[in-house]
Symmetry: C2
Subunit: 270 residues, 2 copies
């Protein structure tokens, strides 16, 4: 038995393409982001194992450009990023590794998660260079209606109608932002920006599924909000495909408030 020295907490900023992964969380016999990155870290740091705590446990096929995780390890070599570049497969990258400020916890200190869901409804179809990250939609979408429906969903609600049920997990969430707009000069992509302190399972893709029904004119603008505060998942809400969804940002409070935020999150979960 080797005596363990003091550990330091390291913050990792990650990006990955979701297609090749069965989501973030380790599962026996599956290729997951957690497994691939933990294994590479163990080799790079010459440790028997490394355990990551992550901000957003993305589902199968969901991408991340702004994922954050932490691990507690004996040292942070200056060459870690270059080592990981050689060890990791090309569909996942550690963009930054830094000593975390005191009180930092990738999961419990997070204040907000920001996701983007992208849709292209141009008659010619989805840009081939963007097709892995953008949902193609075969009919024109009315973005004004979608934006109007989205505004009614913002705030503190029970989102049970939009969540896959998980034992013991609350479906009451504060949706901080849900914007729908055409992106960029060309307007070729519709981007749904979704921000909350936390999400329940499949919530973002269900919200987008409901907005798609509005954008097509199959449902009224008021319909998604009419599902709020139900006590169970609605069969009428489709779940939009995973490949249009990307975790783009995890937000943390200023360093001095990290500890208080962790206390607060843990207390709420307990």
């Amino acid at each position: 038995m080797i005596e363990a020295g003091p550990l330091m907490r390291v913050r990792l900023d990650l990006t990955y393409e979701g297609a090749g992964f069965s989501g973030w969380a380790r599962q026996p016999g599956r290729r997951t982001v957690q497994q691939v990155v933990e294994d590479a870290l163990a080799v790079a740091l010459r440790l028997p194992a490394v355990r990551l705590v992550v901000a957003g446990r993305t589902d199968t096929g969901v991408h991340a450009t702004g994922q954050v995780a932490h691990c507690d390890v004996p040292e942070l070599p200056g060459t870690l990023l270059r080592s990981l570049r050689g060890l990791l497969p090309p569909d996942v990258r550690v963009l930054a590794a830094s000593v975390a400020p005191l009180g930092f916890d990738a999961r419990f200190a997070a204040m907000l998660r920001r996701y983007e869901y992208r849709i292209a409804d141009a008659p010619g179809g989805v840009d081939p260079l963007r097709r892995r990250f953008v949902l193609g939609w075969p009919r024109p979408l009315d973005v004004e209606s979608m934006a109007g429906a989205a505004r009614q969903l913002v705030g503190l609600h029970d989102f049970a109608a939009f969540c896959r049920r998980r034992e013991g997990a609350t479906t009451i969430r504060t949706l901080l932002r849900l914007d729908v707009e055409r992106d960029g000069d060309s307007g070729a992509e519709i981007v749904c920006t979704v921000v909350a302190d936390a999400f329940c399972h499949s919530m973002v893709r269900s919200l987008v599924g409901a907005l798609l029904a509005v954008g097509e004119g199959r449902r009224a603008v008021d319909w998604p909000a009419s599902l709020l505060d139900r006590d169970r998942r609605s069969d009428e809400v489709g779940v939009a495909p995973a490949h249009g969804l990307t975790l783009v940002e995890v937000g943390y409070p200023p360093d001095a408030e990290l500890g208080a935020r962790v206390e607060q999150t843990r207390a709420r979960r307990a």
Copy 2:
């Protein structure tokens, strides 16, 4: 024999991911962009065959976001884009189809071709969501030196040192622009923007290969320009990989000048 009616010239704007294609030009037994798009057009327009004339004959693995082609056909149905979306594979898209102005010729009326070559030298490696379109470089590059070397290459020169020889093709070209800069907020990608009226074979990737040698410090800033006006290809110049290169724009003169431009281009080629 069906009697042919009058034909109209149609301009097509295309985008494709290069990885799955053996370049633009039709070749027996190879999957090429020309073959795939011509075949889809023939089905969509119920013609035995359609022949495309293209602005930029991209090589194997090179992408295009702003490719332009034309064809002469009996009619342009309003549903053509939607038909093509169903007929084309997802790695190529026709974004627009329009009746071309009088005198238009996708190849001979073009005034300039603009390419972008993208490189990422971050220690963590290439962004997984961008890796198909960006060359990863394992060592930091000095963008200032690259930009300085690039400036000396602009203008009318014999680029034979940077060209793969083709029988009867001139290697004297006017390089209108060759900029090297870090792109965007993060600066994670170095973008080389290359504009000329026309290019000889493998010229853009050879220019980038020479600039990479400067950026690494293996060659002096003056070295690429010292190769100008040689009479043959230089063995010292590496050809950068295809996947970092994208044809982003083809520029045409105002409609009233299209005919004159075509005359001028044809005269120069003859």
